[in-house]
C-alpha cells in the first residue's frame, strides 16, 4: 500500500513526472526559440510560470459550471500521472505490470484531452467551445492511426497486450523501430520509447541512454511542429485519416505477414 502510494505520488508518479514534464516543456520552448534564431527562456521558466499562476486570482465562470471547471484539470492530471506510472514502471523493469495494461494505457491517455474538452465546455465561453471542438476533431483524427500502429506492435510481439512482454520480445529480436505534445509529451514519448526502442534501463550509465531516447523523440516532435506551423485542423484531419491510416494499415499487414 505504501509502496503503491510512493509509486503514484513520488517516483514515476506526480512529483517525478511533474519535474520531468516541466523540463520537457522548457526543452520544447528552447528548441522552438533556437529554430527561430532566438535565445529562449531560462531553465527554471516552468517553475516561475507555475508559482506565478498559483499566485494569480482564480476566476470562475458565471454562465458555466464552476465545479466541472475546477475538477476537469484535476482529472486530467490524474490521468496523466496514472499513465506515467503504468508506462514507466514496466519500462524501467521495476514492476511487471499486469496482463492487458496496454489497453488501460490507451484509455488513460485519452483522459487528459477529454478533460480539456469538458473543462473548455464548462467555462461557458463561445471561443473555448471552438477550441474544444478542434481538440475533439484532433482526437478523432489521431486515435485511429495510433490504435492501428499499436495493433501492429501487438501482432509483432505475438499477440501480447502486456507492456513488459512487448519490451522483452524486443530485447530478444531487436527493436521494433523498423516497422513503423509538457507532461503529456514526455509520457507519449516515453511510451514511444518503451514500445519502439526496447524499453528504458535504469542501471548505471544506462540512465543516460534511456534519457537520450526520450529526448530524441521529444526533439523530433518539436521539430515537426516547428517546421509545419500553419497546418489547419482540416489539413491535419485529412493527413491523419488518409495518409497516416494508409501507412498504419500497411504496417499492420506487414506485421501479419511477419515482416
Amino acid at each position: 500500500m505504501i509502496k503503491d502510494l510512493f509509486y503514484f505520488l513520488i517516483f514515476p508518479g506526480l512529483v517525478f513526472s511533474g519535474i520531468i514534464g516541466g523540463f520537457f516543456s522548457w526543452f520544447d520552448r528552447k528548441i522552438t526559440a533556437r529554430v527561430q534564431f532566438r535565445q529562449g527562456p531560462p531553465l527554471l521558466q516552468p517553475l516561475y510560470d507555475f508559482v506565478k499562476l498559483l499566485l494569480k486570482e482564480t476566476i470562475l465562470p458565471k454562465n458555466g459550471s464552476p465545479t466541472t471547471f475546477i475538477l476537469a484539470p484535476v482529472f486530467a492530471l490524474f490521468g496523466a500521472v496514472m499513465v506515467s506510472v503504468f508506462i514507466l514502471l514496466p519500462a524501467m523493469g521495476i514492476e511487471t505490470g499486469f496482463n492487458g495494461d496496454l489497453i488501460v494505457i490507451i484509455y488513460l491517455l485519452n483522459i487528459p484531452s477529454l478533460m480539456y474538452i469538458i473543462g473548455a465546455m464548462a467555462s461557458g465561453n463561445p471561443l473555448a467551445s471552438v477550441g474544444a471542438s478542434r481538440e475533439m476533431k484532433l482526437i478523432l483524427s489521431y486515435e485511429v492511426p495510433f490504435l492501428l500502429v499499436l495493433l501492429s506492435i501487438v501482432i509483432k510481439s505475438g499477440m501480447s497486450i502486456k507492456l513488459t512482454e512487448i519490451i522483452a520480445v524486443q530485447s530478444q529480436k531487436g527493436a521494433f523501430i523498423g516497422s513503423v505534445s509538457g507532461i503529456i509529451g514526455f509520457i507519449v514519448s516515453s511510451f514511444l520509447a518503451a514500445i519502439f526502442f526496447s524499453g528504458l534501463n535504469v542501471e548505471g550509465i544506462h540512465i543516460l541512454w534511456s534519457f537520450l531516447k526520450v529526448l530524441v523523440v521529444v526533439l523530433l516532435i518539436t521539430l515537426i511542429r516547428n517546421t509545419n506551423p500553419r497546418v489547419r485542423i482540416k489539413q491535419a484531419m485529412r493527413f491523419f485519416w488518409i495518409w497516416m491510416n494508409l501507412l498504419a494499415i500497411a504496417s499492420v499487414v506487414l506485421a501479419i505477414l511477419g515482416l
Binding site: 521558466q45 516561475y48 499566485l55 482564480t58
Partner: protein
Amino acid sequence: MGFKEKCFKKSLWLFHFSAGSCNNCDIEILDCLTPRFDVERFGMKLVGSIRHADVMLVTGIVTKKTKPRLLEVYKQAPKPIVVVAIGACACTGGIFASGYNFAGPLDNVIPVDLYIPGCPPKPEAMLAGIIKFLNKK
C-alpha cells in the same frame, strides 16, 4: 526580494489592447518578440486572452468608443495586473488630445503603473522601461 515576487517578475505574460491607436506602437510591440529583441529571454510571452495575462499593454488615445470596452477588459483581468501605457497617445493624448472623440488619457480611465513615451517608442525603450519598473518594485 521574496521568492514569490521573483517568480512573478520572471514570468510576465503580456496582453495587448489597442485603444484607438494608429497601429505604429502595436508594430513596435511585436518587434519585441522578434529574434533581435526576444522578450522570451525574460520569460515574457504574448497571450491571446486577458484571462491569462499579467501585464496589459495599452496603446493609443482612449476613444469614446473603446472606453467602455477598455473598462470591461480591465475588470476581466485576473489580479494582480500591471497596466503599461505605451506611446505618447496613451500617456498624454499626444497630438489627438484636442480631438472630438478623445476620452483619455489612459490614467483618467484605469490606474496605470508604467508610462513609456515616444511616437512610437523603440523596442529598446519598452524593454528598458519594463526592466526599470521590475527592479524598482
